[in-house]
């Protein structure tokens, strides 16, 4: 047999060269280096995922990522002190951690500002604790993220105010940022975690962000991610969630930015009787492409999972939802329900919905649904007959459709902030 030599794309070759350059800057030995090398070797073996890889079927990265932008340089001093950063959701009185170009900043976001029971550190070891380097995007993130920003909440501590991790790209030209955040919430602790991502509109930025949240036994986490990167941005993000015994978590993703976005979630039930809600709002226009792909892994009995993803697709944009619920052989009494609903707002808009169940236990309650539809003409007529112009009537209906996915966010100010982002998107739509 002849060994196959993979033909590398320009981007794959560039990514591997970037790793070689980064490796010369980082410590020459240790577990961290081994982890990076292992991840890069995994990436080298597969290359960028393409449409024949099931999880990337609708988002062919080998084809879409033509140029790997150069790694971002250290940010301009003072960038992280900008009062505007992360404030587009309104003032939430949050504890802030500011990460510019993948590097944690000193300043207002310094770890010392965090409340008692919460610690902040920058670790060198990028080995993922939940995510898996067999996924090429996670492998690249592991190999190329300089820092693993680590946040720990001690046992039993209820963090009073939200912790807001503000990711910013300080970019004057095309650049790539790889960043990693790890959050460990110990037994019985409570945390509201907000992560926001911003990048300038004028520059073709690329980002690959990995976030891992380990929710300990009986702990409760509410997590909100907002993608507000620029109009030319290529955004790859991976979220790993693990739930201990009787833990509960809500994770909401709201996407309003990026030319190309892929958000993948791996949620694992590690302890029995845990509850998880995943929700998402994706707003697409122009020629944008956004992919949400998730796996909920019920590895133990008694878990409950709920997924509700809403997508509004306008113009020539393309939305993708792939969701898989796995129920392992011993995970009896699992209760899982998944729903993806899309609203197509133009003739050329497209949505691919692929919900899946893989059930290996016999005493479970699982279901999934997927819908693609247009606005109801009768409802539109009713609103218009009261004097509300067409665009505004559409906006009322779209808002009510999307807002269902943010209604579980318990902090009112945060829920209103997210609603404000929906309104802002609808206003932009209304003026076009």
């Amino acid at each position: 047999m002849t060994a196959l030599t993979p033909v590398r794309t320009k981007a794959e070759t560039a990514l591997m060269a970037q790793f070689e350059a980064l490796r010369r800057e980082l410590p020459k030995k240790g577990a961290a280096l081994a982890a990076r090398q292992g991840a890069m070797a995994a990436f080298a073996a597969t290359g960028l995922p393409h449409r024949r890889i099931e999880a990337y079927h609708y988002t062919d990265l080998r084809n879409l990522l033509r140029e790997a932008a150069p790694l971002a340089a250290a940010p301009t001093p003072g960038v992280g002190e900008s009062v505007e950063a992360g404030r587009f959701l309104g003032d939430l009185g949050a504890h802030e951690i500011i990460i510019v170009n993948g590097r944690a900043m000193a300043g207002p976001g310094e770890g010392s500002a965090l409340p008692p029971g919460v610690t902040f550190a920058v670790a060198a070891d990028p080995t993922p604790i939940i995510l898996d380097v067999s996924d090429a995007v996670v492998a690249l993130n592991t190999a190329l993220a300089r820092e693993t920003v680590t946040l720990k909440v001690k046992k039993g501590v209820a963090v009073d105010r939200p912790v807001h991790v503000v990711f910013i790209q300080d970019a004057a030209a095309a650049q790539a940022v790889f960043a990693r955040l790890r959050v460990e919430v110990a037994e019985g602790a409570r945390l509201t975690l907000l992560e926001t991502h911003e990048a300038p509109n004028a520059v073709a930025t690329q980002s690959n962000i990995g976030v891992e949240i380990a929710v300990g036994d009986g702990a409760h986490v509410e997590h909100v991610r907002v993608n507000a990167e620029g109009e030319q941005a290529l955004t790859l993000s991976s979220l790993g969630l693990s739930l201990g015994r009787s833990a509960s978590a809500l994770s909401v993703n709201l996407a309003t930015g990026s030319a190309l976005a892929r958000h993948q979630i791996l949620a694992r039930f590690a302890g029995e009787e845990a509850k998880l809600t995943l929700a998402g709002v994706t707003m697409l226009d122009g020629a944008r492409h956004s992919d949400t792909t998730l796996v909920v892994d019920h590895a133990v009995p008694g878990g409950q999972s709920r997924e509700l993803f809403k997508t509004a697709v306008d113009d020539r944009a393309v939305g993708v939802f792939q969701g898989k619920i796995i129920v392992r052989p011993h995970a009896q009494k699992t209760d899982g329900k998944m729903m993806s609903a899309a609203l197509l707002l133009s003739e050329d808009a497209a949505m691919s919905n692929k919900p899946e169940l893989e059930i290996f236990a016999d005493d479970v309650q699982c279901g999934h649904g997927a819908t693609c539809g247009t606005l109801d003409d009768n409802l539109l007529f009713y609103l218009m007959a009261r004097g509300i112009p067409r665009r505004e009537a559409q906006a009322l209906l779209i808002r009510s459709f999307l807002a269902e996915a943010i209604q579980d966010v318990s902090l009112e100010g945060l829920r209103e902030g997210l609603g404000g982002l929906i309104d802002a998107w609808l206003r932009r739509r209304g003026t076009r």
Partner: protein
């Protein structure tokens, strides 16, 4: 005020209105009665601007201006109001948000300022009290979980709030018990005014005992077949529509 001339309309190629002509003057309450399938509801939808219907001939004039080319919201801003036979439930749209959006959209089109939050709440509360609509109902999503009677009262609330000049009521009595009918009729009667006209579409005479019309038109097979005073409604109740259906066939 409202003048309909030789109006023909069809849906999916099927003719429903076959030459309707009628005039409603300022201050007048005109009733349209007729059997099921005579085209009464279609007439109300065509007046309000529903897209499903294609107007093939004729005019609908509001103060002398043909409104058939206008969008439904533009007609509303000119003072036209349709109270729906089946008001729609809109989950996720708060009733107050909807009312405010409607009121301000109409004011904006007429070049008026937005209503102040205080004035808005006072106006809604005043009208709601008269119609027995509770604060709790106003806090819900529009018409969601409302009974048939509550939905009809909500239609009248919208009508009172928006102060239209021409009110088309499409089978407002359907699904109402006697008490609800009286509340709705009182609400309508309170709005009768010299500069406001009503077109009351109904199948039964019952509603017209509470809202006494100046004129009664009888519709059959897509046309107005006869016109008379309030007494015509009583005559119909006694004799039925059979005679008029045969008139239409001539």
């Amino acid at each position: 005020m409202l003048e309909i001339r030789n109006l023909h309309a069809e849906i999916e190629g099927k003719p429903i209105l076959k030459g309707v002509s009628l005039t409603v003057k300022p201050g007048e309450v005109a009733a349209i009665m007729g059997p099921n399938g005579s085209g009464k509801s279609t007439l109300s939808y065509v007046i309000a601007g529903k897209q499903d219907y294609e107007v093939t001939q004729g005019e609908v004039l509001l103060d002398g201006e043909d409104v058939l080319a206008l969008e439904p919201d533009e007609r509303a801003a000119k003072g036209l109001f349709l109270a729906f036979q089946y008001p729609l439930e809109i989950p996720g749209v708060a009733t107050m948000t909807f009312l405010k959006a409607a009121l301000n959209a109409q004011r904006k089109k007429r070049g008026e300022d937005e209503i102040s939050p205080g004035d808005f709440i006072r106006s809604v509360n005043r009208v709601a009290d008269g119609l027995g609509i509770s604060k709790e109902m106003l806090r819900r999503a529009l018409n969601v979980g409302f009974s048939g009677g509550e939905k009809k009262r909500m239609e009248i609330l919208q009508m009172a709030l928006l102060e239209p000049r021409i009110c088309v009521l499409d089978e407002t009595d359907s699904g109402l018990d006697i008490d609800a009918l009286r509340i709705v009729a009182d609400g309508v009667n309170a709005l009768r005014a010299k500069n406001r006209a009503f077109l009351v579409i109904t199948h039964y005479q019952r509603l017209l005992s509470h809202i006494v019309p100046d004129t009664v038109h009888v519709m059959a097979d897509g046309r107005i077949v006869t016109t008379g005073g309030a007494e015509l409604a009583h005559e119909l109740e006694a004799k039925g529509y059979a005679d008029f259906a045969s008139l239409a066939a001539q």
